[in-house]
Amino acid sequence: MFGSVAVSTHSINDYTPIVGQAAIDELRRLAKPLEGKRILALSSPGASGAVRSLLHSSVPLFSDLGLDAHWQQVRVSAEFLDMDRDIRRALSGGQVEWSAEIEKAWLEFNAANARLFDEDFDIVIVHHTASVGIYDAITQLTGKRPAGAWLWDSHRDYHAAVSESWSLIRPYADHFAASIYDYKPFIRADAPTKRNVVIPPGVDPLGPRSGAVSTAMKQTIMDQRGIDPNRPILAQIVLSLREDDPLRVLDTYELVKAQRPDVQLVVVDLLGDAPDNAQALNHLRERGRAIGDVTVLTEMDRVGNVELTTLRDQATVLIHQGMPRGISIELLEEMWQAKPIVSGRSPVAEAVLTRPLVGVLADTPPEQAHAILGLLNEPATAERIGAAAKDRIAQHHLITHYLAGYLKLFQQVLPGRSGRSASE
């Protein structure tokens, strides 16, 4: 069997004050026919914080709604670590020297995990793209298809995938009952499976990265980090720097600082200790010091959920560079915190920050600086945009919406049902 991941207990009723009784009733109605069904969410030890956070919130809530929900992870033993990293990079369009060895290791990895799969589930959702081969590997191993409906939640935008990596996984993903995408623009024209479903990620309003932050907490964090809470704060807290232009945020900040000398910048990057990233952070620090009032927090500073939430809360304007190909749960969480956001264009930013206007899209440093100065100089506008952002999350992107999306899909794909396509 696979290893389980620690979850706590959550009650769906706790969400009533936030989403209203009707939404909770609807979830119960959707869950009713699925009572007792065994559901497995399958991720990997390398899962991103966003995938973890979604599963950490949703798995206990599925259980509370009467499903028999489990979260387990595949084994990625030492010999498969490089393959796993290469496949992830290649699918996201990163530079990878593709080789037959990667493909061979990928097949072996899925065969090895197929041998660990010894339980039957009604529904299995694979949240780790490198594991989509497991369905065929089990079929090969046992001589029959594994029980239940198998779903692939891709989580990332694979439009820029290295062609060999996409060609490798696509035929295997095609055997799944449905593919799930976080945002509609992520669906490729040659997407596998006939059923393509969009289930946007949802913010957990009761999770450790949501909710109001007390004055005492604000004071603690601001004191510890030496940030002045009485002066405007710009913050880029996206857990990774733009790979092709890591210092762009400083170009923007320098332009703003020239007009508003009282402004401060906080950059949080927790990408880890990749040498390229270390060098970029080094430059960021040096140049930040030259400009002044820049706080750079890295992996070494061990910034956790509570501090992230507080830093966002204290920011006057939050900045994104528009690079995401992934879940971008951070962007949604910031919106839920009612913050005005200035973001570079990306499929995700364009999907969530426009129509109606809930943020400002700006790509170049002069455009971004112009937008930020506008927001700093017009607090009422900044507040209105922040409120609209929060409202958008309340309408479309809470964990309850995510649960509803999944419950509907479960009903459609459950063996024995001939559901209609849920394509959006």
Partner: protein, 436 residues
């Protein structure tokens, strides 16, 4: 070539509230003869790991004292880091098949980095085995360049290091002017030549992990992690590996839980997502915890950061460290600094930090742990007393300021007479490593 690491400035003044003006003045006096000295600290990485964490604080404090401190990290390929990881493990007792290819990779990387060291320094402090060959190759390049004092700082527990790896390394570190180990027991065999120093690690009282946080903030954080602040809490903050005995921690909790159904256990570890052994052990812990939701198994991968760790330590009624084998175990000092009652095993540096039992209880096995914790949970005045003694013990012995003092003393003992001018020029007739 080694690359320079930018650090955030710090002031020694910030430590006055924790240690008093007298200690700060003592440090300034120790630093006075070294003012203007050019000091290079060199290690393998600027991110992640305890050494980088120490240097990020240490370097700006040296700068604040008027010492021209610089921090550089060696440049190396991923293959080198695989070799150095094996070397690191072997130095701490794990068997690895050490071979010539690995030795050559280590030598080539050290040689290439030695070629790139520029500037002339009065002191060069090399951390751990990865860059330990630099001195050898700089001397090989130019035997006359002997002006700087070279110190090798070994942060590892070398008690059971693999003989072939230690013997290999020994050939390169014997030429240093001094070596620093963390504990007397870590000094391997006979070392001829270098001056030997034992310097204990230390915690930084100004860091987010160790700053005092208000009870209101503690409640708020616990609430976010669904931990009940009104019920008793025990905790172990430690890696999930067999040496830290997390499964035994659950056994202790289960024994206590029989008569204390209100009890909660927090277990926090820092995990790397590319460490299959750690994950396999994590899964065993989760399996053992089962559906007892009063056991909170938390990691950095669910967003537990320094503030959270500080909070969990501050919130616990009793903290524990049930290690079967331990290095220095600095997490003990961190816990004692929070004024908490502590129960630890007699492994590695734990008993020393518990002042042999004065600053916390030492327990040998699961039953003893359960009994000690049970007694402490029932006796708040004793908890407070132990917490107070523990905090004072840390204040005296395990804060950054003491680490700084020890380093300055060692540097003074090696320093050339005549002092160091502000522009970094050497005392007459001396010359340090310089640019190629």
């Amino acid at each position: 070539m080694p690359t320079s690491v930018a650090v955030t400035p710090r002031s020694l003044q910030a430590y006055i509230p924790f240690v008093g003006e007298e200690v700060i003045q003592r440090i300034r006096d120790l630093a006075a003869p070294l003012k203007g000295a050019k000091v290079l600290h060199i290690n393998a990485t600027s991110y992640g790991g305890g050494v980088a964490e120490i240097l990020a604080t240490f370097i700006p404090l040296l700068q604040d004292l008027g010492i021209e401190a610089d921090w550089r990290v060696i440049e190396a390929s991923p293959d080198f880091f695989n070799v150095s990881k094996s070397m690191h493990n072997a130095m701490q007792g794990m068997y690895i098949p050490w071979n010539n290819t690995m030795a050559d990779m280590w030598r080539d990387t050290n040689k290439a980095n030695a070629d790139g060291i520029d500037g002339d320094y009065d002191f060069v402090i090399v951390h751990d085995p990865q860059p330990a060959g630099l001195l050898h190759y700089i001397r090989e390049r130019d035997p006359k360049v002997l002006g700087a004092k070279w110190i090798w700082r070994c942060h590892l527990d070398t008690t059971e290091s693999l003989p072939e790896v230690w013997d290999f390394l020994k050939g390169y570190v014997q030429g240093y002017d001094a070596m620093i180990f963390t504990m007397e027991e870590y000094v391997k065999g006979t070392i001829e030549g270098p001056k030997l120093a034992v310097i204990r690690p230390a915690i930084d009282p100004t860091s987010t992990k160790n700053s005092e946080i208000s009870p209101q903030v503690v409640r708020e954080v616990l609430d976010r992690y669904e931990i009940d602040p009104d019920r008793p809490i025990i905790a172990q903050i430690s890696r999930f590996d067999p040496w830290k005995d997390p499964l035994g921690v659950i056994d202790v909790y289960r024994m206590l839980k029989i008569t204390r159904p209100e009890l909660q256990l927090i277990m926090v570890a820092s995990m790397a997502n590319d460490d299959p052994e750690a994950w396999s052990f994590y899964e065993r812990i989760v399996r053992k915890a089962g559906e007892d939701y009063d056991i909170h198994v938390l990691t950095n991968l669910n967003g537990v950061g320094n503030l959270e760790v500080n909070t969990f330590q501050s919130a616990a009624d009793v903290l524990m460290q049930k290690s079967i084998r331990e290095g220095f175990g600095l997490v003990v000092a961190e816990a004692l600094w929070k004024g908490k009652a502590f129960v630890g095993s007699p492994a590695g540096g734990i008993p020393m930090q518990l002042a042999g039992g004065r600053a916390g209880r030492v327990a040998q096995n699961t039953e003893e742990f359960a009994r000690c914790i049970s007694e402490l949970l029932d006796d708040p005045p004793v908890r407070d007393m132990l917490g107070h003694v523990g905090r004072e013990h840390v204040r005296e012995n395990f804060l950054t300021t003491r680490l700084l003092e020890d380093h300055l003393r060692l540097m003074n003992s090696l320093a050339e007479p005549g002092g160091y001018s502000q522009n970094g020029a050497k005392p007459a007739g001396k010359q340090g490593p310089k640019a190629k």
